[in-house]
């Protein structure tokens, strides 16, 4: 398939895990761990999908999401948000900001991969 994924996450072990899972299925994976420059990174790379952590240094996931959705180019970009905060309010905030799928850590590998596949198919 060769689709292009940008993974915005600051926990190295989680980056390692997700990167392993995606590359194994033939995805091209780029990683980025700074929240403050995440939007620029998306603009520059124009990925097919963004996996976005909620808590990032510099700027949190909701703000990044809001900023991306404000850009006409990315209104339909599939964005999967992951959070470890596990609070109902966060899901609400993310959905209002226009998230494509919201998932609470810890997730099962199958769950993540299914979500990623669904999102990319839906976008096509």
């Amino acid at each position: 398939m060769g689709k292009h994924v940008l993974l915005v996450e600051d926990e190295i072990n989680i980056i390692e895990a997700i990167q392993f899972l995606l590359s194994r299925e033939g995805w091209k994976v780029d990683t980025h761990s700074d929240g403050a420059t995440a939007v620029d990174k998306v603009r520059a790379m124009k990925p097919d999908l963004v996996v976005l952590d909620y808590m990032l240094p510099g700027k949190n996931g909701i703000d990044i999401l809001t900023e991306l959705r404000a850009d006409p180019e990315f209104t339909r970009l599939p964005i999967l948000m992951l959070t470890a905060r596990g609070q109902g309010r966060d899901r609400e905030l993310a959905e209002r900001a226009g998230v494509s799928r919201f998932m609470t850590k810890p997730f099962s590998n199958t769950e993540v991969m299914t979500a990623v596949r669904d999102l990319v198919q839906l976008a096509q």
Binding site: D10, E11, I12, N13, I14, E16, A17, I18, F20, L21, M55, A84, R85, G86, Q87, T104, K105, P106, F107, S108, N109, T110
Partner: protein
Amino acid sequence: MISVNQLLGVSLVYVAFLFAIAFFAERASIRGKGSWLRSPTVYTLSLSIYCTAWTFYGAVGYAARSGMEFVTIYLGPSLVMIGWWWVLRKLVRIGRAQRATSVADLISARYGKSNLLAIVVTVMAVIGVTPYIALQLQSVTLSLSIFSETGQPDSLSQQTAAFWVAGGLVLFTVLFGTRNLNANERHDGVVIAIAVEAVVKLVALLAVGIFVVWGIAGGIGPMMERIDNSSIGEWSMDRSRWAALTMLSAAAFLALPRMFQVMVVENEDERHLQIASWAFPLYLMLMSLFVVPIAVVGLDILPAGSNPDLFVLTVPLAEGQGGLATLSFLGGFSSATSMVIVATLALSTMVSNHVVMPVWLSTQAEGAQVSGDVRNVVILARRASILMIIFFGYIYYRLSGGGAALAAIGLISFVGVAQFLPAMLGGIFWRGATRWGALTGLLVGFAVWVFSSLLPSFGPDAVLSAAVFEQGIGGLPWLRPQALFGIEGIDPTVHAMVWSLSLNTAVFIAVSLVTFPTPLERLQGAQFVNIFDHSTQARGWDAALATSEDLMIMAQRILGPADALALFRAEAQRQGLTGHLPEPTQGFLQTLERELAGSVGSATAHAMISQLVGGTSVSVEDLMAVADESAQILEYSNRLEAKSAELSRTARQLREANQKLTALSVQKDAFLGQISHELRTPMTSIRSFSEILRDTDKLDQADKTKYASIIHGETIRLTRLLDDLLDLSVLENGQVSLNLEHGNLHAVIERALLSAGGAHTTPLRIDHVGADTDVPLCTDLDRLRQVFINLITNAQKYCTAAEPSLTVTVLQHNGGLQVVFHDNGTPIPADARALIFEKFSRINDKDGSGAGLGLAICREIMARLGGDITYESRADGNAFIVHLPGQVALAAQ
């Protein structure tokens, strides 16, 4: 020549005639046929008691001694009557509205019915008027002595005569002044008698004057020549004395108790004042018309050394005019008696009402206050007061030796009673005037008067020693009675007047400004100052429509327009009238009063209605009730205010508690979010990699090992996190028990370095300064070591320098100790410094191994140990400073 006996006979007949007039006037008045007694003419003539024997005899003497200055005594009252007519009208209106019976009553009523003030005014009035009464006795006895066989004043017979004259005056005053008790303190008989006397004295003086001008001088022309050639013609005016005396006589005219009696108390109709305002100055002008001619002729034809005070008598006698001299004597006699009678009457009212009665009532059981009882006591008190006052006058006459010039004695009295003026005028024009202002002003003015005028009048060494006159009290030159504050060379009368009145006024104003009036004083102040707004002299009670309208306006203000209109319309319909204005019948007024009482209280409602309808002003009882109501309302509102303050305090506390709870709740949410994040993050890795290991068949050994060690590392991280959280929770809840031990600070640091184990595994170079010094201390050594380990591992983790180093130094500071951990890493950004000791704050946490709880735990531990931990940014790195308090260090020594 007329003998003294003949003269006494004439006097007796004249007195009998006065008795008869007074008696018939009283009878007519009681029968209700006395309206003629209360005409403007009688009112104007009664005012002439201002002209006493002093003016009758003394004016001529004054002119002979001091030229035209005597005019000031007439000028003051005339100016008041003409120019200050409106002040008099206000005074009369207030006096009548308040039913004031005397000056004392008026002043006390104004200042909240203060009995203390009434007593002070009464005592001052008695003392102030005493010289005046003595003056009358003196003038009558002097004039009698002229007719005696020897023609020379004989001191013994004079004193006897003075005694009998005093006795006669007591008798007349008692008979006509206290025959009955009238609620309004009016005395028809007395007033008509003094009106007759006013005519007699005017006729007598005019007769002597006409005789002098046309009988002796030979007409107006020659008379004017004589005047021009006399010493009086050469008289030059002393401006300051002229102005001061004019002012003084004006003040006395307003403040003299006897003037208040005839002008206000005996006033039947306010409109009489309008006529008196021109008629009385005219009377005064006639009285003064022939003063100068009589004085000039007297000086011309009588031997040098003759008493000029008696020229009115001696000039006709010298010309052999016995009949004219007798008439003149009667004129003088009239002047003296009318003044004494009215003055005594006024004073006795004050003494009995304000001194005797309160004392008597306070000694009585309540049951004894039956009206008949009180009546007799009042009459008895009046009579005793009359006797006492005239006796005082007699004593003063004896003490002062009867030698002083008449005018001089009169002026002493004038200055004395003028002290009432600031309190009176202040009271009717200034709402800010207070009881204490009036009281202190009066007392100060009075004291100055007694010292600078009354006591000196007895002469040196009589009361005040000559030394006091020369050197002042206690040798203080500024306390000389006739040169107060060292100001010399002023005429004694002007001196006494200026000092007493100006100090009186100044104290009155100053004290009024710094004291606060009582509610009743406020009400009375408003009643007095705004008398023309409140009283209803001009409004007729028969004008029912106007009254209804007024009632309507008042009701609208209190009940609101709609309710008031409904009430009035309903009543009008009930009365069978069209429109909305009913007749103000008794029943309606009662209904209205009830309605108003619901809003403003019954006393106020009653006072308001009676003001509009009754024509009477508000009574003292009404005012008291109003004051009580106001006080109650005030108290109620104070309570409400206190309640509302309490409520708002509670509300504020609740708001603060709520804010605190909200903040706590936000903190709790943030904390839970953080905990969740810290727990879920390693779990995510563990789950993900364990699934990978489970589900992936073709993993090489290296990957397997790598993923297993990740899982291993993350479980350690989780365990450490749980340990930290529990530790922090224990510390924060204060459940931690400290294990106090003695030890050496450097040994603790050394062990921490070992535990951190960094010295050989990381590139961080650690320099422990003074490691072998002994710094004893007593604290929980394990906990302190935990803090040190934390700081050391932080330095190991986060020090980013190329050659990382950490220096540990111990400092003595203010009796305590400081352990400084100084690394050479990049200083923490300024905006993050405030947060580093907060939970879950991870600055520069590259590998994510820390939960951000370490420094928070350190801070909690140091707080438990009684110390603190702070951060300082240094030019070459970061410094964490552990502060140990004095007692930790000292305990070991």
